[in-house]
Each structure stands twice: as C-alpha cells, then as structure tokens.
C-alpha cells in the first residue's frame, strides 16, 4: 500500500531555502573579512616585487609588470637585516619560553590551589590587560633603566615577558580547570609527586593551551615596536621592527625594501602558526574519563 503523502514538501523547501540564504550570507561575510585581512599582505607582496621606478603606482596586480626580486636582494645587501632578525629571534624565543614556563606553573597554582588572595590576584592580572600599552611605557622604561638593563636583551625579555604573562596565565588556568583532578589523583596514587603529576599528566594534556600561549607570546614579542624603541638605542641590538623603520627617511622611504623586509619577517610567524595548528585543536582529554 502506498504511504500517505505528508504535506511537508513546501515547508521543507522553505526551510532549505532559508538555510541556503543563511549559509550564503555567512560565507559572504567571512569572505569579506578574509579579504580585508589579506589585502594588506597582498599589497605588501606586490610592492616588494615592483621595479624601483614603479613603487608608488596604483596598479592592483599581485604580480606587477616587470616583477623583480631586487628589493629582497637589497634588503640583505644594504642593511643589517640578518642581524635584526637574529636579535628579534633571540629576544622572542627567550621571551616565549620564559613566558610560557611561568604561565604554565602560575596558571596551575591558580587552577588547583586555594590560597589567600588567589581571586584578587587573578582579577589584578586581568586588570593589567586593560591598561593601554602606551601608558605603561614610561614606568616600564624607568624600571628597566633603574635595573641597568637599558639596551640589553635581558631588559627586552623582561619587558615582553611580564606584559604577556597575565593573558597566558588566564588561558592556561582556564584550560587546567577543564582537566579532571582525578587524573592527577590517579597519578599520585600510582607513585608520582605533585610536580610529577603536573609534569607527566597535566602538561602533556595541555598542549593546545600551551601552543596558544606560546603563539601569543611569540607574536607579541616578534611584532613589538614601542618598547623596543624605548629600551634599545644601539643599532647592533635593533630588532627587525626598529631596523625596518630605519628605512623610512625624512625625504625618501625605501618602500620596496620596506615591503620586502616586512614580508620576510611575516614568514616565521606564518610557519609557526601552520605548524602549531594541529595542536590548537582541543579535545585531547576526551576519553580519559567517563563519557
């Protein structure tokens, strides 16, 4: 016997249409946002490839007519670009390692232990993130000067680490909160110390949050300009942000070299993001506990 037809056809079609329109609008908005983000990067690449006589052309082509790598060659040949990169790399790597190490342990303390002032501490940490960086510049400069760390890597590392630390602590504390305590308790009963349980169980499970904290520390330190301008005055210690700024003269700016240098310094960050993307997918703790 034929099944009776339910009068859902038009309603279903209307539902599908609404879903399609919704998906279309969402995608259109996302594509527009992507274009806004990517456009400056594409312009930077385009400018870096232009021949010297067409730097301020209004041409929108990604690969301009007469494209050349001359600007890239000049960046390496005529500036201390490699030295700037090295300085940036040292400061950024040490900053990220120190920042993540401190945040990993501090976040654990805030997540697992109750002690006087724990809530106030967390609130104050959050409060520091609400103060504009410019306002902190003078006090930071005075502190670093009194510590005798002006024009040193250490001064830069301290300045960068402390400014990224609160955010990293919050990220990690929040992530630790999602890891069941019973995992650490099982490890304690199995034979670890408290630190052993943290090191062997909690840290490996926190790779996604640690990656995010590392990336945050890395990009903050790698791209920073203001603090570097204040703390560093010896050209031999310049980071790439200061170095590239040197290309901007009073009468003439080397836009080709500027763009080429800018593109080159985005490559490491891009590579780190691509490499870390697999760790950014959370859910590693699924399956260890009931469910």
């Amino acid at each position: 016997m034929a099944e009776p037809r339910l009068p859902v056809g038009p309603a279903l079609a209307s539902l599908r249409r609404r879903q399609l329109v919704k998906a279309g609008l969402t995608h259109a908005a996302l594509i527009a946002a992507c274009l806004v983000c990517v456009y400056p990067l594409l312009r930077m690449i385009a400018v870096s490839l232009r021949p010297g006589d067409r730097l301020i052309s209004t041409d929108l082509a990604l690969i301009p007519a007469g494209a050349t790598l001359a600007s890239y060659a000049r960046v390496f040949a005529e500036t201390n670009f490699l030295l700037w990169l090295w300085n940036s790399l040292v400061i950024t790597a040490v900053t990220s390692l120190i920042g993540v190490s401190l945040a990993a342990t501090a976040g654990y303390a805030f997540s697992r232990f109750r002690f006087p002032g724990d809530r106030l501490g967390l609130t104050l940490l959050l409060g520091t993130q609400m103060i504009p960086a410019g306002m902190l510049l003078l006090p930071l400069f005075l502190m670093i000067m009194r510590l005798g760390l002006i024009n040193t890597y250490l001064g830069m590392v301290i300045a960068y680490s402390v400014s990224s630390l609160p955010f990293s602590i919050w990220i990690l504390k929040g992530y630790y909160d999602t890891i069941p305590r019973s995992l650490e308790e099982a490890a304690l009963v199995d034979g670890t110390t408290r630190f052993g349980a943290f090191y062997r169980i909690v840290l490996p499970l926190s790779t996604p949050a640690l990656s995010i904290a590392f990336l945050f520390n890395f990009t903050q330190a790698w791209n920073e300009y203001l603090v570097a301008r204040v703390v560093l005055c010896d050209a031999q210690k310049y980071t790439w942000t200061l170095g590239l700024f040197e290309l901007q003269g009073q009468f003439i700016t080397q836009w080709g070299m500027f763009a080429a240098g800018s593109f080159l310094v985005t490559v490491p960050v891009l590579l780190i993001f691509l490499h870390s993307s697999k760790w950014l997918i959370s859910g590693l703790t699924l399956g260890g506990v009931k469910g």
């Binding site: 069941p180 019973s182 995992l183 308790e185 099982a186 490890a187 304690l188 009963v189 199995d190 034979g191 670890t192 110390t193 052993g196 169980i201 490996p204 499970l205 590693l284 703790t285 699924l286 399956g287 260890g288 506990v289 009931k290 469910g291």
Partner: protein, 357 residues
C-alpha cells in the same frame, strides 16, 4: 596484602565536621564495603585512606604502620576511580604500566605483569589503544588492571560501577567478585548501591551523616539492622515502617494490634516503630504459629515484576508494601488478610531510633 585500621577518624572543612570519630578494622584479604547515601562521607573516608585528603584527627594504619603523614605514593595502595581517570595521552598498556615505570621496575617484569593483568581482565586486544578508543566497560577494566599490576597492600574502589549501564554493571560486579576470590586481596569498596554492597562484601559498613551506623556481614545487616536508618537503607524494596506503642508484649498502632512473642512485656509502654520487610508480609495465607494474627487490608495497586508481585496495601491509615508470588490473583480494591512473619518483625525505639531486642 594487609589490614587497614581506621581509629577515631575525624574530617573537618573549616567549621564543618563531615566525619565524626569513625573507627573501622578491615582485616587482611577482607572485602569491606562502605555504603551510604550521597554526601554521607564514605568517599571522603576512602580518599583519606588513599592519602588524597588530610586527616583532621585520628589514625590510619595500613599493614600495621601509621600512614597519616605519608603521601599516596608511599602508602602502597591502588585506587579505582568513579570516572576511571585513565590518562588520555597514553595507551592502555602505558596506563597500566605507569606506576611500575615510576618505580623503575625492569621492562621485562613490567611487560609480564601487564600481560598477566590484561589476561585476567580479557583486555589483551586493547593494549595498544588509547582510552578514547574503548568503551566504558573496557575503560573500567583497564582502570582495574592499572590497580592490579601494582600488587598493592590494599585496593580502594570509589563507586567504580556507577557510570556503567545496568547490564554492564551486573557483569562487572560478578567480575570484581571473581577477581577478589582469585587474588585474595584486601579491598575497601565505596558504593551507594545496596545491591553491590550486599552481593560483593565480606562485611558492610553502613555510613550516614559522617557516622558508621552498623558494621557486619551482609546477611546480619539485612536481618538484624541496628537502627531505623540501616533498616530503611538496606533492602529493596525498602522495609515497611509502622509507628505505634509497645505495651505488654503487644504492638498497637492506630490501625492494628498484635502480640509479639519474645519481647519483654513488663516495662512501661514504649513508643516504637515496627519494621517489616515486604517479603515478610504474607497475604491471604492460612494461620500458622509462625505468622501474626490476620490484619484486614485493601489492595491499592498491583505491580508485576515477572517472578514476583508487589502489592501496595492500605490498612487503616497505614500503607504497606507486600512482595508476593507472581501467581497471586488479587486485584486493586480487593479486601485481603495480611499476616507478618513473627520472626522477621523488627522493633525500633522511636526516640533513640535503635533496635529493640
């Protein structure tokens, strides 16, 4: 293996005392059940034995030695957690061998112990999988395996079956009983499920509101509950309670009156609660010296359980449950005569709530 002794254990959180001078002896190779309702303090007590909670007052001995100030790793105990607590980033084999690796045992011995435990628990095929790749029941087996390989002095189980479905729970219950027989280990097992308590334990400690109410063999706790709480908590369906007065060896309530042999009859009338289990209430049975006088009642509801029937009876203002044979043909509204098995009547002092006689 070893005995576990708790002496006057008290636990306080700031001003709130959650365990009040609890004392308990768990003999070597004994299967001790801590049973009680949620929040009674049974898990806290177990965690104190494990070293995961500080002891406010009292003394815990494992194998004779005081362990109050020893960290969990030095107490030589193994624990199975309610949520399994398997390490998600390790394989089943790595989970099971974790404790042995920490103790620096030779690899050959570790492999041998893991293989042996995996064989006992029938999880050999799962050794290379991660916890997320196995089912709930298998995870519980792995958690038990992780405890077995350590060969500890005592096993602590914290409601290990409460996350499993009914069928799996039944299977694992038998499995754990078999495991205890095979390994002959000292086990302290926390549960709120009285079926687990009755079927698994060599002895049961019934806990309520931070105090041990009764310790004894399951049959003893069931047949001679020490107080009203134990009487109501142990046994399913729960015991019927009827408030009344005990006067000259006779129990009288608003709806019934019956002579109870073996009860001292010379004291002043005493306010009591009579307890009778549903299976000790007989309906429409012939008179017998073992049964009480008939009491008129009416059937309100009948529930067929398959092999038994539950009858919800009303006698005056009292409501009682009787569990009778499935062949009983009575229907709701029918008038029946109920009799109590005299030897299975429990009397409790209404003031102290303790058992009389």
């Amino acid at each position: 293996m070893a005995s576990v002794t708790l002496h006057d254990i008290t636990k306080r959180y700031q001003d709130a005392e959650v365990l009040h001078r609890v004392s308990l002896d768990v003999a070597d190779r004994e299967f001790m059940i801590l049973v009680g309702p949620s929040g009674c303090g049974k898990s806290t007590l177990l965690r104190m034995v494990a070293g995961l909670e500080d002891i406010s007052e009292g003394e815990i001995r494992i194998g004779g030695g005081i362990v109050n100030h020893l960290p969990p790793r030095d107490r030589e105990i193994a624990m199975v957690f309610q949520d399994y607590a398997l390490y998600p980033h390790m394989t089943v084999a790595e989970n099971m061998s974790f404790g042995l690796r920490l103790r620096g045992l030779p690899k050959a011995e570790i492999d041998e112990r893991v293989a042996e435990a995996a064989g006992i628990l029938q999880i050999r095929d799962l050794l290379r999988r991660t916890p997320r790749q196995i089912s709930g029941g298998q995870r519980q087996r792995v958690a038990i395996g992780r405890a077995i390989v350590r060969k500890p002095k005592a096993f602590l189980f914290d409601e290990p079956l409460s996350n499993l479905d009914a069928k799996l729970r039944e299977e694992m219950r038998v499995e754990i009983a078999r495991l205890h027989q095979r390994l002959g280990t000292t086990i302290i097992y926390v549960t709120h499920d009285q079926v687990e308590a009755m079927t698994l334990g060599s002895r049961i400690a019934v806990i309520n509101a931070g105090r041990i109410q009764q310790v004894g063999a399951p049959a003893e706790v069931f047949s001679r509950p020490a107080n009203l709480f134990v009487a109501g908590f142990i046994g399913s369906p729960t015991m019927n309670f009827i408030a009344g007065v005990l006067d000259r060896a006779a129990f009288k309530s608003e709806s019934m009156s019956m002579a109870i042999p073996g009860v001292p009859g010379d004291g002043a009338p005493l306010r009591v609660v009579l307890g009778i289990r549903p299976e000790s209430v007989c309906v429409d049975q012939a008179p017998s010296p073992l049964l009480s006088e008939p009491l008129p009642a009416a059937i309100e509801v009948v529930e067929l359980l398959g092999y038994k029937r539950n009858l919800y009876l009303k006698a005056g203002d009292d409501r009682l449950l009787a569990t009778v044979d499935a062949s009983f043909a009575g229907r709701p509204g029918d008038a029946v005569a109920m009799r109590f098995r005299l030897s299975e009547i429990h009397l409790f002092d209404k003031e102290t709530r303790n058992r009389i006689g």
